[in-house]
Assembly symmetry: C2
Homo-oligomer: 889 residues x 2
């Protein structure tokens, strides 16, 4: 099949201008169009006939009668990676076989067919173009020649007239070719022609994009089908060494799997299918060549109720056979396959089209006023790939009609799949839910590994009961937690399902410990068996949030979220203190004291810092500010014990380093000195200390546990959210031995009688083990410095300083993965209800940064593994828009 | 390699007596011993050299120097399934090659080697034994001949004396052979020799068991290694058609994967590995033959940090090569492999040994008084397979020492892996946690499919944010819930993480609906912004349980679980009614009225029923018992509104059909008539009705929703537990449109402000979609009758009646998947703390039924798909033990 250079040069034509001309019309975020079916052809092994299937499909698609007399047809065949090239060229094979078959069958209409070679390694390009005609005009890139080889053929139909334009079109393309007939990663290495994954995907995206734009050119109805043929098996390496099933995953195109009809082929086909599923692909059909071994029986049994299995007739072994009669024999099978592909495509697009309305009709989203969510605001999420989501958006400018005679379904608009960076989407979400949602940053490799671990764990354990049992994932997680976030103080792990339940458990623990430590009180309780005469309160910070179940709500100060209409049972069982906060104001880190403290301040307290690190120094314990804090804390505690003899503080609960204010002001960083003094004072009074690290835990503030920043340890701490790396709910309440001992005794009734059905469920524990290890592994998390105990600065300090100096900005807090910017605003412009920032956010949206206002505060939040480079790009855009904003205001 | 019949008959010896003699000494529940490493050898395809690896391992294991001068060595090679037999016999190949190699190498010690053929299809057996010597003595089974072929050889070592006993032993065995060289399922079908999966596993278990017993015979130290070689690829069908990776899964033996060094072999090796992982196998190493394609580079990259990849030298293509020098060349690789296997084994057993102590040290189990859990009571769960758990138990009778010179680790006791039916283990768990744990019954096929779906969903979605978004699993689940358990009344789905949070959300919904419907009250609330002057109560049944977070606790009546020491904030914000219950007493279904009602009963009320179905009839609404119920309900409601003007009932919450009493009495079935009247009365007063179906939902009581039994519908209903089929936490609160409307408005603050980070997480939704569909699918759930709306009787009605007639039994309730038996007991024998049932339970334990007492009540609980046959077997044993118990008392 080696085409001679002479033959090729005859029809050589450069098409560079084509793609350049059209590229501008497509928005750069477009991933691939949903105006027509695009499938990836995968195989369970090499040499099982992928290209025959592609060719068969092209024949079947082009030969079938159109749904409309005026509809044109276009079949696009893409071979991104071709080795053994040009001796082996699958795109040329498809082009040739289609042409031969159509010539033989004499269709009534004309077909215009073409075959393109875009880039090839130097050895491969030389073989195509001849050594003398190597392109030297500067289009060199990574050892590739821009071959831009092109051949075309017009197949005149039996009923065509000379003047008639071809009714249908077949476009075959090879994107990259290497000469040696080995695995692409080897060929790329040996021929010095490497192509990175994103470069390859970009090239593929362009080819897919061109396909669509082409359909718009003359406004005619056009039926399009596109197939992308991979190389080798599903997990064969691509040119960069990435497995192809990983390489193409960002597209997550629906798949056709070419199975193996040979001995051993049942196993190979099933395993290949499972590798595709483990990467989130949807397989529409399995097709394989009959080898007389009845492989279809077990395959049909395995795939029953899931997908169709099609069997192709045996392929003639005689190399001289032109396969024309085989294609003829197999045409019915290929037509079935084509129909399956079309119908799966239409089902998918119809569903995507219907989803927003259905969601508005039957979902009840948390923290959402449904009346304020129009259907067009609903985001359809098709999938996620690492930090990117594939979402579907309705593009009005494209009005392309796809009709299928079988389904008679008309999709009058095109859907385009976007990729949106998680930071943006999550910020959007974050604000929607009152600043409490946490974006779960999962880098792509972690997602792949987690997926396999999730499958493994479900297969190994499913669900197992926890009490009095032990199994590996739960034990390993408990060990990791005690060696990590609980190191030095915790000795027990209590599992539950989410942050709110973890807090409820922590409160129960703390109260018991308190009662146990205060024998007088216990006697009091024993005297009155109901014990309702005693009022146990929790010491907490005003504006704090610990969860939405009643017990967690009771530990937060009254706010619109705790009102009678939200939870009539809420009474606010705490003594709530006003904490001092720290932010950068005009380039300087400063303490902002609550009103009462500010008025009692005698002026000598140092409330500004030369650097952020100063804030966290233990030496601040001796300052007069520390005395001021202490005196206020003691004053409040005294007031309580004076008020009535029945109220006691049974626990302190704080979020170390942070305070999410639900109302105005957004996220605040509490002065760590103040929190440390609170902890010290409580400890000296035997009041158990709870650290709510549900949000702050696992590197959110730049350290695995935010407690490190306070230089003190709790008696109890709660973890959730980032703990599982973002795939599954799980929470843990860690406790010291002294807390645990308050529950031991001879009676079961003294035990902590709290639990949920899925306590310590194996899948959650496995996900947590994987994620915790991943985040603290230098080899995987490039942001780690200082013996894995600290993340490097993710938000460029100079830029943060510049932003804080902007006249439009009131204050900035950048710590760990968080960066909060409060705009300077007054009166009704300030606060939670303000729409002050909306013009700024609209501009940011134009930059591809999607955020929603939390009053006059805007947020950025990344993941523990997000590179500082990504953060810098975003922050730069934010800075530049803030500058503009400051000028227009 | 075809052995002639003559050669074989020379050394023919029957070994039947051996296995029979020893079998009795092994307990029937033993799965496989952990006294020595047992590995399964898998391959990524046919013809990649599995048997060469087995032979190489046997050579390496036997040739290596012993850790102790007196230690014997034993290598066991098992080939459960052999096609192309006896022409191809892998066990004979291993036997032959080992013998040849040892003879060539002249080891210092003697080796005794043997090869066994157990069963073969008639054509295969004829070829082994010659047509004349077919065994006809009745040992026929399913088209197999008990071939019992045996050959042996003593290889005298260079330093051996004539009288010396062989130091080491190699046992090779083929369990089943078929003549045709095709896939086992085809051969089995064509030769009419079928073997079921469990029969094959039994045979394998016996061969493994014999291996251990053999080690005990002379008390000598023995180093044993066993390998089981599969046929074809990992997912090649076994004789029954089950894929081998599924067939052998109950053992879940650690695996060695023989990879593929050919073109396409990278993909095949990775996919095969992923298929093993998707079934919960642990792979210790990958090994493959070098074909000069550098397949190790991408494989090493893929397997980095996970497992070692070993490369074998190329195998001579010359068929006449005896491979002796190849084995010699490869010996270093095989020795590495053997060391990897030994060290992984020792790591595993050491970990299993350490787990109970570690669990006691660092876990804090829910509902558990740790002081009452000695280390030896902790169950180590290795894995789960459908309804069976593999647990590890310490068997004292076996004292076998395994030493490994490398690790110098001594395991002085043997661990045996048991399989325990889930019903038993869960009952054990159920009782441990106060009757509230729910066993999650997952049949094996469902587990396999769920595992793949979990991997797929993690790969496709990971975690995605829910508010204002839509993605397929969440939408499909919401649709399924509204068409299923919410049909006819629910229009919205609110997702959360567990039953307790679902209840908290339901209460918030109900209260808002109530306030909205009672405008006078709303004005009252508006007047006093804090609204604390109004006391909203919930109407609930005494003894009910709705969860452990504070809000859910407040909806239950005071009990030891709600005491001050457990949750000082609990106050019991309900009006708690005493409900009438229904049970079978001495063969007759009767109502048991609460004391107060009993005393006011005028005698004419009919309180017994001719059948259980009578209890659920709507016609009971007109009976005088209904009037009695109604008058008591009205009386209680009247009392509340008389007490003070501030208390109002804002919601009714019931578990339809059921009431779990935490204290004495165990599970009770509430008279459905009473519950229906309650619902009717509340609805007429515009009090929103909540059905807590967390426990009863999804077929627990024989119907998808227990609400059906009450002939009435709630305004709000909660689901969790069985919803996901038992792999992952997820809960849903369903609501009517009227409830939803109470939250719509122009302000976000009117929305339901409750949520958790993982709301509607994709993996939970996917698991729920799969499970809900599975349970109601006739093809999968054989228990479904009556158009999928009802489960057949799982507990044989006659046997239930017989049990209720037993003098030892007070009452029985059998409904759906539940069967509760209360023993007749008086005084201190009755109630939660009683140990009355302990002698009965000890006897049941001897029958393999592990239960713990919940006072004088014992429980049986199966899954929606458990066959009535399994239930019958268990119930029969229970009945017979209860009869004995009645006689001894």
């Amino acid at each position: 099949m080696l085409p001679s250079a002479a033959l090729f040069s005859a029809s050589l034509r450069r098409k560079c201008s084509f793609s350049l001309r059209h590229r501008r019309r497509l928005h750069s975020v477009i991933e691939y169009p949903l105006t027509h079916p695009i499938y990836t052809i995968w195989a369970s092994n090499t040499s099982v006939g992928k290209t025959l299937v592609s060719a068969g499909l092209s024949i079947s698609f082009i030969s079938s009668s159109s749904s409309s007399p005026i509809a044109k047809k276009k079949f696009i065949y893409l071979k991104p990676v071709q080795t053994g090239f040009p001796g082996d060229s699958d795109s040329r094979f498809v082009y040739t076989k289609l042409s031969e078959f159509l010539a033989y069958k004499q269709l009534p209409f004309s077909v215009f067919a073409s075959n393109h070679f875009l880039k090839a390694s130097v050895p491969a390009a030389s073989a195509v173009l001849g050594n003398g005609i190597v392109d030297k005009d500067g289009n060199f890139g990574g050892g590739f020649e821009n071959v831009m080889w092109y051949e075309e053929r017009k197949l005149t139909g039996s009923e065509s007239t000379e003047s008639e334009l071809p009714v249908s079109e077949v476009v075959c393309k090879t994107l990259y070719g290497w000469k040696e007939a080995v695995s692409p990663h080897l060929a790329a290495e040996r021929e010095g022609a490497m192509v990175g994954d994103s470069e390859l995907l970009d090239s593929l995206k362009r080819s897919l994009g061109n396909g669509v734009v082409g359909t718009c050119d003359n406004g005619e109805e056009l039926e399009v089908m596109c197939v992308i043929e991979t190389a080798g098996g599903v997990a064969s390496p691509g040119p960069s060494g990435s497995l192809q099933c990983d390489l193409y995953r960002p597209f997550r195109l629906p798949a056709i799997l070419v199975g193996d009809g040979r001995l051993g082929g049942i196993s190979g086909t099933i395993s290949a299918y499972e590798s595709l599923k483990l990467r989130g692909y949807d397989v529409a059909a399995v097709i394989f060549e009959d080898h007389g071994l009845m492989n279809e029986t077990p395959l049909l049994s395995y795939f029953r109720n899931r997908l169709p299995v099609l069997v192709l007739p045996s392929i003639p072994k005689d190399m001289s056979d032109d396969l024309i009669s085989w294609f003829d024999d197999a045409q019915l099978i290929f037509t079935s396959l084509k129909e399956i592909m079309l119908s799966a495509f239409l089902k998918r697009t119809q569903r995507l089209h219907d989803m927003p309305k259905k969601a508005c009709d039957i979902f009840w989203w948390p923290f959402t006023q449904h009346k304020l969510v129009p259907e067009e605001n609903v985001t359809v999420i098709d999938s996620r790939c690492g930090e990117n989501f594939a979402v579907h958006k309705f593009i009005d400018m494209l009005h392309i009609t796809i009709t299928n005679k079988k389904c008679r379904l008309t999709v009058r608009h095109a859907w385009i799949s976007f990729r949106v960076s998680i930071g943006f989407l999550n910020n959007l979400m974050l604000v929607l839910v009152g600043g409490r949602r946490v974006p779960m940053l999962v880098c792509r490799r972690l997602q792949i590994e987690l997926a396999r671990d999730m499958g493994y764990t479900a297969a190994r354990y499913g669900h197992v009961m926890f009490p009095e049992n032990v199994y590996e994932p739960a034990l390993e997680l408990a060990e990791l937690l005690l060696e990590g976030v609980g190191k030095g103080w915790a000795s027990r792990v209590y599992f539950s399902d989410n942050g709110s339940t973890a807090i409820e458990i922590a409160l129960k623990m703390a109260f018991r410990k308190f009662l146990n430590d205060n024998k007088v009180l216990v006697d009091l309780v024993n005297a009155d068996i109901n014990g309702r005469c005693m009022d146990l309160k929790v010491l907490a910070l005003r504006g704090s949030y610990h969860g939405d179940t009643l017990g967690a709500m009771e530990a937060q100060a009254p706010s619109p979220y705790t009102g009678f209409l939200q939870q009539p049972w809420y009474s606010g069982r705490g003594l709530f203190l006003d904490p001092p906060t720290v932010s950068m104001y005009s380039g300087i880190w400063e303490v902002c004291l609550p009103e009462k403290m500010e008025s009692e301040k005698r002026g000598q307290e140092c409330v500004s810092f030369s650097s952020r690190d100063e804030i966290f120094k233990r030496s601040r314990d001796g300052t007069s500010l520390a005395s001021l804090y202490r005196s206020f804390i003691l004053q409040d505690l005294q007031l309580l014990s004076d008020s009535n003899g029945l109220s006691h503080i049974g626990a302190l609960i704080i979020e170390p380093g942070k305070n999410i204010v639900q109302g105005a002001g957004g996220m605040q960083m509490i002065d760590p000195l103040y929190q440390r003094i609170l902890v010290t004072e409580c400890k000296s009074r035997k009041i158990p200390v709870i650290f709510d690290e549900v949000f702050t835990g696992f590197w959110r503030l730049g350290r695995e546990t935010a407690a490190e920043m306070l230089w003190c340890q709790p008696d109890i701490a709660c973890f959730a959210k980032l703990m599982t790396g973002g795939v599954i709910p799980l929470a843990a309440t860690l406790a010291s031995d002294a807390v645990f001992e308050a529950f031991t005794g001879d009676s079961k009734l003294k035990a902590l009688l709290h639990g949920h059905s899925y306590s310590a469920h194996a899948m959650g524990c496995t996900a947590a083990v994987k994620s915790i290890k991943w985040f603290k592994d230098h080899k995987r998390n490039m942001n780690l410095i200082s013996e894995s105990r600290l993340l490097q600065e993710l938000w460029d300090p100079n830029l943060v300083l510049q932003i804080s100096l902007s006249p439009a900005v009131h204050r900035v807090v950048a710590l760990g993965t968080l960066c909060a910017i409060e705009l300077l605003a007054e009166g009704s412009d300030a606060g939670y209800g303000s729409t002050y920032a909306s013009s700024l956010l609209k501009k940011l949206c134009e930059d591809g940064i999607y955020m929603r206002p939390l009053g006059n505060v805007i947020y950025l939040m990344c993941g523990p593994c997000t590179s500082p480079g990504v953060c810098l790009t975003i922050l730069q855009k934010v800075y530049s828009r803030i500058q503009e904003f400051g000028q227009t205001e």
